[in-house]
Symmetry: C2
Subunit: 213 residues, 2 copies
DNA sequence: GGTCTTTGTGACCACCTGGTCATTTTTAAG
DNA sequence: CTTAAAAATGACCAGGTGGTCACAAAGACC
C-alpha cells in the first residue's frame, strides 16, 4: 500500500481531488518534472499535509499509477465482454472507439502513459510499462486468435506480427487524437464524434484489406 | 544563428565533442531535465565556457536540433534517390531498414526525437515537431502517389489514411528497435541484422496484403 | 620584452526542488 | 470543560538549477 492511513480518513471527495490534481501534474510534467510544491499550492493545502498522506513523491506516483491502471483494465475487460459475439473487425473498431471515449473521460491518464513511455526517470518505469503493454498485447492476441478460429483472420503471417501492426496503428490513432502533431495529415484532434468514427472505419478497413494492389 | 562565433573558432573536433555530449544529455533527460552543469563537467570545461559558445540553454538546444534535422533530411533524400526505380513496397522496405541503420549510427538523435514528442517543455516544441513530421509525411505521400501511378497501390482508400497507417507502423517499428518495451511481443531490440530484415519483410508484406481473410 | 584581444575560469546569485519537524489547530471522548 | 489523539501547518534544510562576471590565462602582433 503506497498511501498512509491518514489519506483514507479524508472525505472521499478530497481524496479524489488530491489524486486528480496530482495526476494532472504528473501527466503534464512527467515524474521528475512534476512539482510537489505546485500540487499542494493548487490544492490549497500545506506542503506538510501531502506528506501525511504519502510517504514521498514516489509513493504518491505509484498510488496514482495503480489507480489509473485499474481504470484501464476495467474498460478493456468490459469492451471485450460486450463485443464477445461480434466479428473480429467490428471488435477492433469498437476497441478503438472505446479508447477514444476513455481519453475523453480521462485525458490525463492517457497522456501520463505517453509521458512515461519516453521517460527514464519514473520509478520502476520498466516494470510499470511492461505491465501495461502486456495486457494490451494479450488483449489483441486473444482477439486475433478468436478471429482465426472464425476464419476471419489470415493464417499465413505470424500472429505476433499482426499484433504488432494492430497495436502500432491503434496506439498511434489514440495518440493523434490525444495530442495532435502526431496525426500525419488527418486532423483527428479537433474532430467531432461522427468524423472520428468515419476515420476509425476507414483505418480498420485498411488494416483488413491492406495497402497493396 | 544560435551559436556564438567563439564556438566556430574551436577546433572542429572539440565542436563535435561539445555537440555530441550535449545531444546525449538532451536526448536522455529531455530539454528541462538536461543539466548544463553535467554537460560541462562531462566535457571537463568550466561552466562559463559553454556560455561563451552559446547564449543560453535554449540556443544550445536549438543548434543541436538543427544539426540533427539536417542529418535526417539528408538520409531520407538519399534513400529516395537510391530506390527511385524500384517497386513501392521495396522502397518502403528499404526506408525502414534505412531507419534502423540511422538509429544504429545516431542513437541519441532518434531518442531525442521521441523524448520531444511527449515533452511540453522543449522550446518551440510545436514548430519543431511539425517540421519533422511534415517531411516524414511528405516523404510517404510522394512514395504512395508514385505507387498509385504504377498501379501498385489501391485507390479506393484515402491517401491520407494510408500515410497514417504507414507512418504509424514504421515509426513504431523504429521505436521498438530503439527502446524496447515497445515491441508488443517481438523482441526487435536485441536482434541482429538478418532477423531484423525478416521482420521488416513480414511487416511490409502484412501492410500490403492486410490482416483480413 | 610589452600591449591588446580573445578565451577560459569558478565563486557566486536568485530561485526552485523534495523532504522534515516542532508547533499549532482541529476533532473526538469522557 | 479537560484531555488526548490526529491532522494541518509553514519555516527551514541541503542540494540542485541556469546564468553572471570579475579576473586570470593564453595568443597574436609589434
Amino acid at each position: 500500500m503506497e498511501a498512509k492511513k491518514t489519506f483514507f480518513n479524508l472525505p472521499e471527495e478530497k481524496q479524489k481531488r488530491v489524486l486528480e490534481t496530482a495526476l494532472e501534474e504528473f501527466s503534464e510534467k512527467g515524474y521528475e518534472g512534476a512539482s510537489i510544491n505546485l500540487i499542494v499550492s493548487k490544492l490549497g493545502i500545506a506542503k506538510g499535509s501531502i506528506y501525511q498522506y504519502f510517504t514521498d513523491k514516489k509513493s504518491l506516483f505509484l498510488f496514482i499509477f495503480d489507480y489509473a491502471v485499474e481504470l484501464v483494465r476495467k474498460t478493456l475487460k468490459q469492451v471485450k465482454q460486450e463485443t464477445r459475439e461480434q466479428p473480429t473487425f467490428e471488435r477492433i473498431r469498437r476497441s478503438l472507439l472505446a479508447g477514444v471515449d476513455f481519453i475523453e473521460r480521462h485525458p490525463f491518464i492517457y497522456r501520463g502513459y505517453l509521458k512515461m513511455m519516453f521517460e527514464r526517470e519514473a520509478p520502476f518505469r520498466q516494470e510499470l510499462l511492461q505491465r501495461i503493454r502486456l495486457f494490451s498485447s494479450e488483449y489483441l492476441t486473444s482477439l486475433l486468435m478468436e478471429g482465426r478460429e472464425k476464419a476471419e483472420i489470415r493464417k499465413d503471417i505470424d500472429l505476433e506480427t499482426m499484433v504488432f501492426l494492430l497495436d502500432a496503428v491503434m496506439d498511434r490513432f489514440l495518440q493523434a487524437y490525444a495530442i495532435s502533431y502526431l496525426d500525419s495529415g488527418l486532423n483527428l484532434n479537433r474532430m467531432k464524434r461522427p468524423e472520428i468514427e468515419r476515420h476509425v472505419n476507414e483505418i480498420v478497413e485498411l488494416m483488413r484489406k491492406g495497402i497493396g494492389k
